[in-house]
Amino acid sequence: MTPLQICLLISALLFAIGFAGAVTRRHAILALVGIELMLNAANLNFIAFWRYGAHPEALTGVLFVIFSIAIAAAEAAVGLALVIAIYRHYKTSNLDEVKELKG
């Protein structure tokens, strides 16, 4: 088993865990955590493909990942703000109860 395969396995596992969390959790924050996990799995793939790819000296993978993490941070900020707003409005953070845009 090559290091790349190990990395991909880990990242696939991570993604699966994130996905399961995002799909099954009813709490908004936990669903958001699941999404962050899937994102990190994707970042791990970027690093792995760069590190064991054709041009490890080009630094493209690192740049991509930094971008991606920055975007994920921004996204998490927006997502958390939304969750707080939803909570304030609906007095709940249970996603099943937040079904209506109108209100």
Binding site: F19, A22, V23, T24, A31, L95, D96, K99, E100
Partner: protein
């Protein structure tokens, strides 16, 4: 240009204005209506005198003629111009119409005094005068036609003035429709004339349609049968004159027109309107006479003028014989008018404008006099019109009797002192010299005999003998004078003399009935010279020339025979009662019946023209109902069938198809909408499952 020529339009405009003002005023304003109408006529008369004066003193230098035209409407590239003309013909007619009209208006004030619709009457009279004067001054066949139709309209309105009488309403319709037949000819002639010459102006410094160049163009062209175009147009225009002037065969309306008030009969159906036809022929005389075969002396001879002569001569004798057997005082005069109009036409045909117009003018005065006299008689006898129920009125109405006798003698042509003698003599003289045929002359002479006879009969029956009105009145009450007569006269059955407002116009007219003859005697042919602009002299010897003198003696003899016969049969031995048979009826019942029923012309028309018309109407109705109606019905059923088919298709095909489709879509949408829970996590789950499935598929697909 003289000021009067430019302002000639004022003469018809004044009565028109008066009519307009009367029309918009509130009803009981009798004095205003009468004042306006009479005032406008009086002013018109003064202007006419000015116009007349302007045309005087041009003897020996050709006829005086001034025109004033202006462009009126444009169609295509051409302008229709209208205008008026002042020449002796216009001037003499203007003076006659305004003067006679004015007198009749004044008379009407008395005659219509009790009528409720006094204002309407004067409104129509003024409108009529306007139309008539328009006809007279027109220098344009189009303007003439418009005025002509105004005249026809007012004639209709005034004949039917007492429209609550069914006979009056019917007479009005008859008059309107009959004259319309003639007017159709006039209209066609007018259109044809315009097509030929490009103008409808009579005189326009050499470019008018009655002037040499246009006439030469029309003479040179012929239509089928070698008839000159000018002749054809002339005959068409003459057809209009036949209708308006009550010539055979369109004379039937004129006697019936006597249903109108008597002043109307006098003004419209004796003095002016019916003379409009004669005037029209005189106006288009150059057209009628165009292309004449040269004759050494006298008037030109053309086909058109020959037709005019024959129609006139036949009408003259025809109507005169009918007048013999009539019993209604106004009907006798009506047939007399028809007969005299025939004389005028004959005079135009055989002798030219001057001869016909002279009789027109003299006739206008004495026939207006006779009609107004008869109006006075009718008024005095409490609306009685049957001469058999009159009699002895000489005693009760001396003034009316005197003036009526003058009118009667003038109409009969009593020699030397009365105008009718001179004018009729001139016609007979011209007819005698007519190169084509002598029959019109003989017809005219016979007509003159009858004229003298029936007028004597009428006067004898009305004014001599004893009053026969009482028997009838006491038996039948006052049904004959139901309307327009106040109650105070009903208590007094004796006839009474009319008030001065009625007798004074009569006296004036009587004066003219005598004097007017002297302007056209053979010794001093002023009238002839005035109209033609030729030199003439006072030449007493012309009276005693063999031809003239013998003719005068002959016509005098004829008149005396007629007068004598009439007096012998009706004057000497008066009828005792109103119901007694007429002398002629006792002697010749068959002929009298024929004459009394006007040769059964109305019945013949009833049996031919009207039945044909009814048949044509029936045919049209049949065609309308079955042929066109059938076609329409067919279209209707086809449409209904198609509509039914469309509905079926719509309902069972289109609708059903759509309904089913829509139902299916709706249900499908309903099913699908269940998938949309609105839960992002559900979607995400689906995406995840789909992704796993896709990956499995890709992996296995790669292996395969």
């Amino acid at each position: 240009m003289i000021w009067i020529v430019k302002n000639l339009w004022l003469i018809p405009a004044l009565p028109l204005l008066a009519a307009g003002i009367i029309a918009v005023n509130k009803q009981p304003a009798r004095k205003l209506a009468a004042t306006l109408a009479i005032g406008s006529m009086a002013l018109g008369f003064l202007l006419s005198l000015c116009a007349f004066a302007a045309t005087l003193g041009h003897h020996g230098e050709g006829a005086f003629r001034e025109t004033f035209s202006f462009n009126w409407i444009q169609f295509g590239g051409q302008w229709m111009s209208i205008g008026w003309v002042l020449d002796p013909l216009t001037a003499i007619m203007l003076v006659m119409v305004t003067f006679v009209g004015m007198l009749i208006f004044i008379f009407s004030v008395g005659y219509m005094a009790h009528d409720q619709n006094f204002m309407r009457f004067f409104n129509f009279l003024a409108l009529f005068a306007s139309g008539m004067l328009g006809v007279v001054i027109a220098n344009n066949l189009f303007l003439l036609f418009v005025s002509w139709e105004i005249v026809g309209l007012t004639s209709y309105l005034l004949i039917g003035f007492w429209y609550h009488k069914p006979s009056a309403a019917a007479a009005a319709k008859k008059a309107f429709i009959t004259t319309r037949i003639g007017d159709l000819g006039l209209l066609l002639g007018m259109v044809w004339l315009y097509a030929q010459t490009g103008t409808l102006n009579f005189y326009e410094h050499g470019h008018g349609c009655m002037e040499a160049s246009a006439l030469a163009g029309m003479v040179s062209k012929t239509i089928c049968g070698g008839m000159m175009v000018s002749t054809a147009i002339g005959l068409l225009i003459f057809l209009g004159a036949v209708g308006k002037s009550g010539q055979v065969p369109l004379h039937v309306w004129l006697p019936d027109a006597m249903e109108g008030p008597t002043p109307v009969s006098a003004l419209i159906h004796a003095a002016t309107m019916v003379a409009a036809g004669v005037f029209l022929v005189a106006r288009v005389y150059p057209l009628m006479a165009a292309g004449a075969t040269p004759v050494e002396h006298g008037a030109p001879v053309t086909t058109a003028l020959t037709v005019v002569t024959w129609i006139g001569a036949i009408t003259a004798i025809f109507a005169a014989t009918i007048a013999v057997a009539q019993n209604d005082i106004k009907r006798i005069l009506a047939y007399s008018t028809v007969s005299q109009l025939g004389y005028m036409m004959m005079g135009l045909g055989v002798g030219g404008v001057a001869v016909g117009m002279f009789h027109l003018i003299t006739h206008a005065f004495f026939k207006a006099l006779l009609f107004l006299g008869s109006g006075s008689v009718i008024h005095g006898c409490h609306e009685e019109q049957d001469v058999r129920k009159m009699g002895g009125l000489k005693k009760y109405m001396p003034v009316t009797f005197a003036v009526y006798a003058i009118g009667m003698l003038a109409l009969a042509g009593f020699p030397l002192f009365f105008s009718g003698f001179w004018s009729k003599d001139e016609i007979l003289h011209s007819a005698h010299n007519w190169p084509v045929s002598h029959i019109p002359f003989l017809l005219g002479c016979t007509g003159a005999l009858f004229t003298a006879f029936y007028m004597t009969r009428q006067v004898a029956l009305v004014f001599f003998g004893n009053y026969r009105g009482h028997e009838e009145k006491s038996a039948h009450g006052h049904s004959a004078h139901a309307h327009s007569h106040s109650s105070e006269s009903a208590h007094n059955h004796d006839p009474h003399e009319s008030p001065a407002v009625m007798t004074v116009p009569l006296i004036i007219l009587a004066g003219f009935a005598i004097l007017l003859g002297f302007v056209g005697t053979p010794a001093w042919p002023w009238f002839d010279g005035y109209l033609t602009g030729e030199e003439f002299n006072f030449d007493f010897s012309k009276l005693t020339e063999p031809g003239t003198l013998s003719l005068m003696v002959a016509s005098a003899a004829i008149v005396f025979t007629g007068l004598g016969l009439g007096w012998f049969l009706y004057g000497k031995r008066q009828r005792k009662t109103a119901a007694e048979k007429d002398v002629l009826e006792a002697a010749q019942p068959a002929i009298f019946k024929l004459l009394e029923n006007k040769y059964f012309i109305d019945e013949i028309y009833e049996a031919t023209v009207i039945r044909f018309n009814a048949f044509a109407a029936w045919l049209c109705d049949f065609a309308d109902q079955w042929i066109f109606g059938g076609a329409v019905l067919l279209v209707k059923y086809i449409t209904i069938g198609l509509a039914w088919l469309y509905r079926l298709t719509d309902e069972y095909f289109v609708n059903l198809g759509f309904d089913t489709g829509c139902e299916a879509l709706r249900e499908g949408g309903g099913g699908l909408s269940k998938l949309h829970t609105g839960r992002v996590q559900t979607y995400l789950r689906v995406i995840g499952v789909a992704l796993v499935a896709l990956i499995i598929f890709l992996i296995w697909g790669r292996k395969a």
